[in-house]
Each structure stands twice: as structure tokens, then as C-alpha cells.
Symmetry: C4
Subunit: 266 residues, 4 copies
């Protein structure tokens, strides 16, 4: 190990340096991060912990992690972008406080940083879930005009999603509400996704996830738990959506609310 | 922890406060309760143990549980409803003996309580199993008149179901019998499902499960084991039913019984 | 525990009383024995160990097992059937050496005993694998004359099967050989399957497995390992067969052998 | 145990004799090596560790392994083949340094040795993954001229593959690049695959994998990690490809690169 290794050494299982490996091992068993694909990052105040590039996600150790200084706090970022324009956080502004000896930084780094600086997220998860990829392929098949947004409604699990962002302040979606996840086109270099993800963040200020066509999904939240459970709920919906497609059931339907009898009588 | 914490502290792995977390962790790996969906509740005499709302089911701890006093025993309930009508148990009648510090009560609470007070159940499980949801979508697709009941016969696993309720007294369904599970429409608020579930319980006095369209399934039993194994058998059948649909095999068929030779000769 | 409990107490993980629970727990995770369905039995010389009826397979303990005295050894059985006809071993002839306090004997018992006495098997496994059931449903759909036998060829995994029974003496099937598994119709009572399974054993003297329509599969072998690995290979082929059906690929094909160049030149 | 048992005894979990069992146990849970199918081999300098034939892959122990002396180093092999022709390494040239007491050598042995001597690989994995088999069946269905190569492009996971072999020197494929995996026909005897695999290695000097029709896949790499993560990425793509086929999405598409705005403006 090298300098600042104390940043990734903790007996607390909830410390970011321990959480990222345990989460990624769990995600590996779900098929989300096989073949070193995908990744996860946690922000703890001004510190950002990131899984490295090319690591076997089910075998990752705390000592494999990068630790960065958050480029700018959310408030500072807002001030900065007001005068400097809305370009993505540039790699140049990254300060690595701790680097693992044998890995390279993840290409997801600027995307994770966007979630932290633009949305004030505490955790951002990126999966290559086959269901996420298949959903973007099904949308692509439907052609222009229908392929830029995944929409589903009238499924109970939708209630697991916040109505907007940050989720604690606005409450959750209702059963009849339509969940909308923007879909962006993939780019040859993952870092180049950043500006398109940020564009989607602006167009969908409530969003806590972006699908990347033929690639996977980015999910963030204002706590590790929120990001992780949203990621699970999304994958559940993507799985359901692929099966619905096979069975000929549309993702969006017009269903009249079932009211309790008391309401009906009233 | 707070007052009455002794209600959830036990070294016995079969204590309800230990069983609910271990069952839910198992259900999480089966994809039944991902993204904090679903839940489980156990009744031990007059005490009711319930998983809280919004908890990560594979990480739940005994200290996360609510403990309620059963609103009224089954007998008292019957007397009460004879004079007061058959409305659902109202939240007002709930007495929380122990609450976890950081969670909110589950919206499933009145549905679990219905299973305990109306059916004398000891355990009630609620899953968001994708197969359960897909079965309700396939039924919906078949249109009015066919969508209010899931029916399947001539599958061996059907013998895992009791002929009626409570199951110890009536024996199990036969191979050629048709398993019938009522399907109720989902409501915007989970608590509002209560009266529709109770209506289904009355219409199907033998039922130990109710499918909720586009939502999942509620399964109860007069022991933890009974509820859990019925829930497994149902999910097995739902899985089979979805695959049968894809392969064009009808769920209900007319098959002549195969008799043993001795019977044939006789 | 009760009398003869020493029959199920051993520190050896390969003792039948330990192997059956560990195998069944593994099978549960594969979805073969959910909801208390399916079962397993091991014969050790004159002793037969059998999982009880209605047990949760992933939670089974050695103390849950029945131990029987083998009704008759294979040789004695052959002598006996030569004079007495080929009827199934009757339950009357079973001698229980050890019974668990809270369970009932498995309805699979006479089927397991048939595998031991007729085929000299050491282990017999019964699963409700959804893939096994789906294969029997697909065959049923193809109609009379095609539905009494599962046939597949030109899949490498077929080489995992013995050419006949007992497998050590005859070698394995070749890649181009056709694996044939008889399919019998299900009966209302599992015990009544016995004579039909025995009939299939006679018609297919090489068989080490029988599919039961709309029910599952029985697999036996002359060692625990043989029965277990055949069961795995069969389930692999059933899975493949279901997917092949969905993709329109026939199970049996006529493929010209690929010879190595040396052979071609020769 | 017997002579040279020290070759398979080590406390280091990364020792080949410990890695092969732990990898194979992991592969078993993925359904790649069920029913004793498939296998794995690691080369450590001049020593080759190979899983035996017919072993239960999730239960394998270090003492079950064969250890061979590498027939010839890559350099010597190249010199030798320059004068002796390009035939496969003959079994005669194998020197077993250590044999397990109860197993037979794997029929995969000459194929693993080819990967080590021809390609200088450090690890070679062979799976019977159902997705790999299904992909070869789908290709076969498309008929002559399309069935000798699996091709897929415009899927992010493709970036997990090296552009050529050995991978460290040439970098990885880009998102828009087409991954090509040669498909060879299966032979009755696994050893006879060797020359066809070597032929594919010559035709595709960049390849690190060969699909075997109706059989599975061989994957190699210049480290254990590389072979294992490529194998995972391939299985991910095979899974996706099977689902794409069901949904009518072509494996190869013509997608215009999405350029970052900066590039567009430039």
C-alpha cells in the first residue's frame, strides 16, 4: 500500500471503503458487474471513493479503491457554473488523495463526479445489467421518437421511486404515475458520456437514473441505501419490461384507479 | 434501541424476531423482495411481528421490527364483526408495543392483520415476485371474465396446497384438482387493498393466497412453515405458468386419470 | 430423538444421513425441490436413508430422516421376481428401523426402493425441476406417438451419460448418440407411479432416469455422485431443450461426424 | 496422496492448485460446469495444473489435480513446428509429474496445452455454458456461410475484450468494433478438437476464445484473471445475444458514432 492508505482502512462495515467492495460483490452475483464491467462510487462529505478500472468486482478489496477530493462542493459548483458555463467537470480538476498500486482510474469517474456535484448525490452505481441493455434495444427497435425515454406505469414497484430529487423532500411516485428514465446514446469513450448525462440531468431534474443505450444504467441517490434500492427496483422493472415485451403486454397502460368502497360510497 | 426491546431479543433462531430477518434475506435472493418491496409478518399468540417499511430485506435485523398487540383475537373479532359490520381493521385499533428507531410502519400492516384476525393465520408473506406480476398481466390480457382468478391443474406441485383453510384439518389438493387463486385489482394506496383482500377471503374461504394485479401476492398459513412453503409452491407454479404461456400450453387441461393396473383390472 | 438414532448420527460428511441434507439444500437453490417437493434417498448396503414427506429441503437435518431395511437385496429380489411375478415392492414389506418424531414417510418411498432393488442403485433423486416439467409438456403438445420419450442428440453434455446401466461397465454415450429418457404419465397418488416406473425400467434396461409428465424426474445411479451428476446433466439438457424449442431448433438432428484430418487423409 | 503431492499443497489461495478448485466452484454456480462438464487449467512457468475428468466441479480439491510438465516452451515449440509441421501436440509428449489417485486425465488436456504452447496462455477455461451452446445453434440455423463465426458489435461490454493477443500489448476493442469468435464443429472425441482449435487459432491470431458447436466454449488469457474475466464477458454477450434473437434485434448493427459536443463543434 502507499500514502494515505488510512483513508481506506476501517473496521466499520459501513465505511465507504468497506461498503463499495461488499456492494460490488453483491452486484456481481446479480449479473450487473461481470467481466469487470460497471462500478460504484460513494461520496463522504468532501471525499469520493471509487472502484478502479478493470477490477474483478466480486473480489475487490478496500485497498483497491481510489480516493479523490470532491472537485467542488455543490454550492461552489453552482457558483462556478453560473459564470463558467455548464461543461462537464474536467479530469484536470480531479485530485487523487489515494491511489491503489496496480490499477487505473475508472472511466466512469467523471460520470460519478457529475452525480455528486450536480445532484448532490452520496452514491452512484453503474451496472451493465443485461435487462437494462435489452430495454434500450427494445426502445431502439421502436424507432425514432420513442427511443429516448423508458416509460412504465401501473406497476406497484414504481412506488419505490421518489417523485423527484432529492427524494426525502418530495415523497414517492404513486402506483398510477409513470416512471420516466431518460436514455442517452452510448459514446465510444465512456468519459464522453458525461456531457450527455448532464444534459439528461438538466432535462429531467427529478431523475435519479440514466439509461445508456447498449451499455447499461447509471443510478444515484442521496444515500448509499437509496442508490442501491433504486438500482434494484429499476432492474426489477427492466426485467419485467423485457418479459412483458415477450408476452405482448404494453409497458404503459391506461388503468382506471380502484377506489376503496368508502371512497366509492362517498 | 428503545422500550420493549426485549420483545425482539432472543437467542432462538426460530423466534419470530429472528425468523423474519432470515426469511426475508432468503426471499431477497429469490427476487421476491428487492428494492425494499414486499414484506413478512409473524403472529405469536397475541403478539404480531412486522418488518418495517423501506428496509433492505436482505440486511434486516431483529431490532428493525415492529411488535404490535393483536387488535383482537379471532373469536373476539368474529363477535365484534357480527355487530359492527365487516369493515377492515382500522389503523386506529393498532397498538404498537415496540417500534424501531428509524423506520416507518409498513403499509402492509392492515393486510397482515386481516390474515391474522380473519383467517387465524400465524404468518403472512407478501412478495413482488416478477412471476406473480406476470401471471396477473397475462390474465388481464385475456380480458374481462377470465382475469379475476388464476387457475391451474394437472401439475404435481398442486398437491403441495391444502384443499382448504386451515390446511391441517382438510388435507391437500389432488393432482387433478384445480388450484384457484383470486386476483384483486391494485389500489393506489396499499392499505386500501385490505377490504378487497377481505372480500376475496370471504368469497374464497379456502384461500391461503391472493394475487394483486400488477403488484404481487399475499400468502398466509397457520404456521410459518406453511406460509413459506405455499409461497414457494405458488412461485414455482407462476414461473411454470409464464413459461407455459410462452410455449402455448394452456394452464387448465382435461386429462383422464392414469389408474394403476390393479385398479384397471379390478 | 428416538430409537436407533445412532443410524443418523455421524461426523463423516459423506455419511448418507449427512449427504441427503447437504444434497437437498443444494437442490433447493437450483429450484428442484422448492415447496417441500421432490426428495432424495441413499442406499448403504442393506440400509436405506430417505428424506421425509413435507420437509423444507434446504433446512433438513439428519434427524429428520427415515432409515429402512432394504426389503430384499438385488439378488434375492431377482430370485423372488422369477417366481412371484414383477409387481412393485409393496409397502407391507418395508421395515422402518428409524423414524423421525414429526414427519410422515415420503410418498416417493416405493419408487426409491424400486431403483434400489430392481436396478441395484445406490442413490435415487426426485426433482420437480420446472425444466423437466416443461419438457414433458412440450412432448405432450406434439401429440400421441411422440410424447412417451424425450430424445436429444448431438449435444456434448450427452457424453456425461452412461451408455447403459450400471454405467461403470458399459462406458458412456457418444456425442452423436441419442439420449432417450422414457416419459410416464402422472398418477393421482405418487405411490401408484411405481408400477409404471418399473415398466419403463424393463422397457429401457439402460435407463437411469424416468420423466413423469407434469410432475418431474426420477434419476438413479450406482453411486451418489453418479445419480447427482446425471441429474445435473439432465437438467442442463432439459433447460437447453426448452430454449431450443423457443428458438425453433429441433432436439434431434442428423449431423455428419466431423473427423480429424488424420482420419480424413487416411 | 502419492508422489509429488507437494506440487498441489500450498497455503496461498492464489496458488494454481487452490485457484482451480475455487474458480470451478464459482463456475458451477454460474451453470458453466454442471454434471462434471467443462474444466480449467493454469500454467505456472513450466508446470501445468489441470482439473481431472469426471470430477464434481463445485467439490473439487487441490489433491484432485493433475500436474504436467509443459511439453515445450513457446519458443521451443515455434522452432520445433518450423521444421516438424503444425500438427497438434501429441499426448505422447505429455509428462505427468503428479496424478490424483482416483481420476482420469481430462480429455480437454491437449486443448489446454495448445493454448499454453501456441498462444503462450497462462490459463484456459472450458465451459458448457447453455448460452454458448445456444449461440452456436442459432448460427447453425442461419445456415452455411454465416455459421462459422459469432459476431456482435455496438455493445459496451465488447470493450472488455482485447483487440488482439496477447492483450496487454494491443489495447482493447472499441465500442463500435465487432467482436469475432470463431466457431468450430464438434468432434466425437474431445481430443480431436485440438487440430480444429489450432486451425482457428491460426486463422484468428487475435482470438482468445473458440466456440465449439453444440458443446461450449474455450477461453484463454495471459493471466488467470484475464481468462476468467473474458469468459464472464463472453457469457454475458452470449446471454444477451440469445435474448436479442428472441426479441428480433440483430447482433450486428450499423450505428453512427455519437461524438461529444466539443468534437462536433470542432
Amino acid at each position: 500500500m502507499g500514502s494515505n492508505d488510512e483513508l481506506v482502512l476501517s473496521d466499520n462495515p459501513d465505511h465507504p471503503a468497506n461498503l463499495i467492495p461488499s456492494l460490488c460483490a453483491k452486484f456481481w452475483t446479480l449479473g450487473w458487474v461481470t467481466g469487470t464491467g460497471g462500478g460504484a462510487s460513494i461520496r463522504d462529505e468532501e471525499l469520493v471513493y471509487i472502484a478502479p478500472s478493470g477490477v474483478q468486482k466480486e473480489l475487490m478489496k478496500p485497498s483497491d479503491l481510489y480516493v479523490l477530493s470532491l472537485p467542488q462542493t455543490l454550492e461552489k459548483h453552482k457558483q462556478a457554473t453560473a459564470t463558467q458555463g455548464d461543461g462537464p467537470i474536467r479530469p484536470a480538476s480531479r485530485v487523487y488523495l489515494r491511489s491503489p498500486p496496480t490499477f487505473k482510474p475508472s472511466q466512469c469517474t467523471p460520470l460519478f463526479l457529475s452525480a455528486f456535484t450536480r445532484k448532490g448525490a452520496k452514491c452512484c452505481i453503474h451496472t451493465h445489467s443485461p435487462y437494462a441493455v435489452l430495454v434500450t434495444l427494445i426502445l431502439e427497435q421502436q424507432g425514432q421518437g420513442f427511443d429516448k425515454e423508458f416509460r412504465i406505469n401501473n406497476i406497484e414497484q414504481i412506488k419505490g421511486f421518489a417523485k423527484g430529487y432529492p427524494h426525502k423532500e418530495v415523497g414517492n411516485l404513486g402506483y398510477h404515475d409513470t416512471l420516466r428514465i431518460p436514455v442517452i446514446e452510448n459514446t465510444a469513450h465512456e468519459e464522453d458520456l458525461t456531457e450527455f448525462m448532464e444534459e439528461a440531468m438538466e432535462k429531467y431534474p427529478d431523475a435519479y437514473a440514466v439509461l445508456v443505450r447498449r451499455h447499461g444504467v447509471y443510478v444515484w441517490g442521496n444515500s448509499v441505501e437509496h442508490a442501491k434500492t433504486q438500482c434494484e427496483s429499476l432492474d426489477y422493472l427492466f426485467h419485467l419490461a423485457v418479459e412483458m415485451k415477450k408476452l405482448g403486454v404494453p409497458w404503459v397502460s391506461d388503468i382506471e384507479p380502484t377506489l376503496p368502497r368508502n371512497s366509492l360510497k362517498a
